[in-house]
């Protein structure tokens, strides 16, 4: 798999922060979910 330069790779280099890229991706997506929830509550509270 790593011989094909035109194929996307999952990650061959550890992230500068944390140990796994999957965890960082989950943090970003989790933050988005939390933001949507908070904004939704905000919109419901002040209407």
């Amino acid at each position: 798999m790593t011989d094909d330069p035109h194929r996307p790779h999952g990650g061959d280099e550890p992230p500068p922060v944390g140990k796994r890229w999957g965890v960082l991706y989950a943090v970003v997506l989790g933050a988005l979910a939390l933001e949507i929830l908070l904004f939704w509550l905000f919109a419901r509270t002040f209407r």
């Binding site: 790593t2 011989d3 094909d4 330069p5 035109h6 194929r7 996307p8 790779h9 999952g10 990650g11 061959d12 280099e13 550890p14 992230p15 500068p16 922060v17 890229w21 960082l24 991706y25 943090v27 970003v28 997506l29 933050a31 988005l32 933001e35 949507i36 904004f39 939704w40 905000f42 919109a43 509270t45 002040f46 209407r47």
Partner: protein, 656 residues
């Protein structure tokens, strides 16, 4: 503008330019000049990406958007974090491994030289014009509100950018963008604090939010699924994700920003930070607009925020009618103010029934005020045919100039200049890079030494900068043309993304199948656009999905390619290629990459039957053209970014 404002503005701009020039003096070679030597840390990449996306219109129009339509525009950005994650997994490692300078360079490997060249030319044509509009839009607003000549504002913004972008290349762009983002964030924070300090006596933060919310300005999330509703949770998540994928994955002005990262990891982290910060940042900017709206419920706002148009209407043939509207507006505003104060009192009392009654009364009073505004809008449109018929772009800056204290005005103006300069510098950098890498070096300077290429890049930066400044002088005459280009451009984002995704993840799909998929995707987009009133964001998702599904469905009926054809195409591509920096034995190792390991694989694609590379070389010419036009469309859609005649809500980069 007081003396202190001038000092703050002048010092900020001078600091940016001097800092950019000083920090980027020692760039070596073409890679150093165009990609900052691929040495940038993740935080620089992150700020650079954010600064590129955020143009001056972001800070002028977005608060106005919240003032007029509430905070629902924030949903537009919900798809961005999803796109950042997808790009981190796919495009970032791919571009890094191939050591490309531009996204179009990659297309030569995937398709053929003419696709790369055509795409590059289309990008240059579109981006050159868009760069002029990026300068023109804030210059126009600044000139109207400050009374300066538009020639002065365009030359001031464009000239400063040309100086440091030419001097330091990508490194200067990245370094100055870091400072510009600091100024922008500082100014927005200070403006928000100052805003609360100018609220009337007895009206606090919570009261302002209560009033703004009662009048529908806190509508941050709308979960209703409605295809014709431009901004809701679903269009933002799905359509916004596809739009972000196209913008960050195929637009050279953004691709170049994360190519400057010193490794895949640094570039990835830069994008992920953008994904984390972007949504809250946009929420904050929109919140400022909602608070400006709340402020004007207690203090009578101008009937029309564009002072030049208001004066022309008052002095025109229907001046008496305008004066009547002014009087009616003052009366309605006073009634609205009384009801707003009653709502604040009801909120403090804790009486739920009184609160509900006060909200109803405030909404009724505000509706009368809106009615007067609607009549004024009609009058302005009728008496001033060249008017946009809206004044939301002027709301925030007018508020800053009229209400905020000395010093803060200078800081906000500095932020607007900084935002404009950050977008423009990235565009000039991308234009210069594409010109020299995809055109000059590809066809005229294969053996040219780096020193010569850097010199040409610098001259090209100056040339593109001058072109943009000159174009900005005439941009006001292109309103309808720009609008037409934008509508056409929005047709292609999803299709091109579908082609890329097919190439990445469906190795068995061949060129013919992808071609039919692209055609079907475009047909679906055009049909939906023509026959329905579906919001434009959905077209991105639709085009992409149709491409992938049709390509999959047609794939079994298209023939395989031969290894010999692959080898022939490979030999053609490598013939006459000049030795490049990445061919040096030590190249890549220093940056912690595996370039050397990948190069042989790149040259012997005949061995990788059914690979993505094979797919690319099998692509028919027509398919290449479809991709070219798709990419061109995605680039053209970026023209929305700077168009002063379009609403910020209909744009991606400008309103980011």
């Amino acid at each position: 503008m007081r003396a202190l404002d001038w000092v703050v503005l002048g010092a900020s701009l001078l600091f940016i330019v001097v800092y950019g020039v000083m920090r980027s003096r020692r760039q070596k070679g073409l890679e150093g000049y165009l990609l900052a030597g691929r040495t940038q840390a993740w935080w620089t990449v992150a700020l650079s990406i954010m600064a590129t996306q955020a143009s001056a219109i972001t800070f002028l129009s977005t608060p106005g958007q919240a003032y007029a339509d509430g905070m629902r525009f924030v949903q537009f950005y919900f798809g961005l974090p999803l796109a950042m994650v997808i790009l981190c997994v796919t495009v970032v490692p791919l571009f890094h491994r191939l050591k490309v300078y531009t996204a179009y360079e990659y297309l030569e490997g995937r398709f053929d030289p003419k696709t790369r060249t055509l795409t590059a030319f289309l990008f240059l044509a579109q981006r050159g014009l868009a760069c002029g509009l990026t300068i023109y839009a804030p210059a126009l607003i600044l000139s109207v509100l400050l009374g300066w000549s538009i020639q002065v504002t365009t030359v001031a913004i464009g000239g400063l950018v040309v100086v440091y972008t030419t001097s330091g290349g990508a490194k200067a762009v990245n370094e100055t963008q870091t400072q510009q983002m600091v100024i922008i964030l500082l100014a927005m924070g200070v403006a928000l604090v100052a805003l609360f300090r100018v609220l009337p006596e007895g009206v606090g933060f919570g009261d302002a939010v209560l009033v703004s919310g009662a009048l529908g300005r806190m509508n941050a999330v709308d979960t209703t699924f409605d295809l014709s509703n431009r901004y809701n949770l679903w269009s933002g998540l799905i359509g916004g994700a596809f739009l972000s994928l196209s913008y960050f994955g195929t637009d050279q002005s953004q691709v170049q920003r994360y190519l400057t990262g010193r490794s895949v990891a640094q570039s990835r982290l830069g994008l992920l930070v953008n994904g984390l910060v972007k949504v809250p940042m946009q929420f904050a900017i929109l919140f400022v607009g909602a608070m400006v709206f709340a402020f004007y419920q207690f203090v009578a706002p101008p009937l029309w925020f564009n002072p030049v148009e208001a004066r022309k209407a008052a002095e025109g043939p229907r001046g008496a009618e305008m004066a009547q509207l002014e009087a009616a507006h003052a009366k309605a505003s006073e009634a609205s103010r009384t009801e707003a104060l009653k709502l604040v009192a009801a909120g403090k009392s804790g009486d739920e029934s009184a609160l509900a009654a006060a909200k109803t009364s405030l909404r009724a009073a505000h509706a009368k005020s809106e009615e007067v505004k609607a009549r004024a809008t009609s009058l302005i449109k009728e008496t001033l045919p060249k008017s946009e018929g809206k004044d939301t772009n002027y709301v925030f800056l007018r508020f800053v100039l009229d209400v905020l204290p000395t010093g803060v005005v200078g800081l906000v103006l500095a932020a607007i200049f900084a935002a404009s300069m950050s977008s423009t510098s990235a565009e000039l950098n991308a234009l210069s890079t594409t010109s020299v890498v995809d055109v000059y070096r590809r066809y005229f300077g294969k053996d040219a030494p780096d020193e010569k290429l850097v010199k040409i890049s610098k001259w090209l930066t100056v040339g593109w900068g001058l072109f943009a400044i000159v174009f900005a002088q005439y941009a006001s005459r292109l309103g309808t043309l720009v609008e037409a280009v934008n509508i056409l451009g929005s047709f292609f984002y999803g299709t091109i993304l579908g082609v890329f995704l097919t190439a990445f993840y469906l190795p068995r799909v061949k060129g013919g199948a992808a071609f039919w998929g692209a055609l079907a995707g475009e047909a679906a987009v055009v049909a939906v656009w023509a026959l329905t009133d579906v919001s434009f964001l959905w077209l991105n998702a639709l085009g992409c999905i149709v491409v992938v599904l049709v390509a999959l469905a047609v794939s079994p009926f298209t023939g395989p390619r031969t290894d010999e054809a692959t080898a022939r195409a490979d030999r053609r591509r490598d013939r006459g290629r000049a030795p490049r920096a990445e061919d040096r034995p030590d190249h890549g190792a220093a940056a912690g990459t595996k370039t050397r390991a990948f190069r042989p694989a790149l040259r012997s694609t005949g061995r990788v039957r059914g690979s993505y590379f094979a797919f690319a070389f099998h692509s028919p010419t027509v398919f290449s053209k479809a991709v070219t036009f798709g990419l061109a469309g995605s680039a053209l859609a970026r023209a929305r970014a700077s168009s002063p005649v379009l609403t910020a809500s209909a744009t991606f980069p400008s309103s980011a």
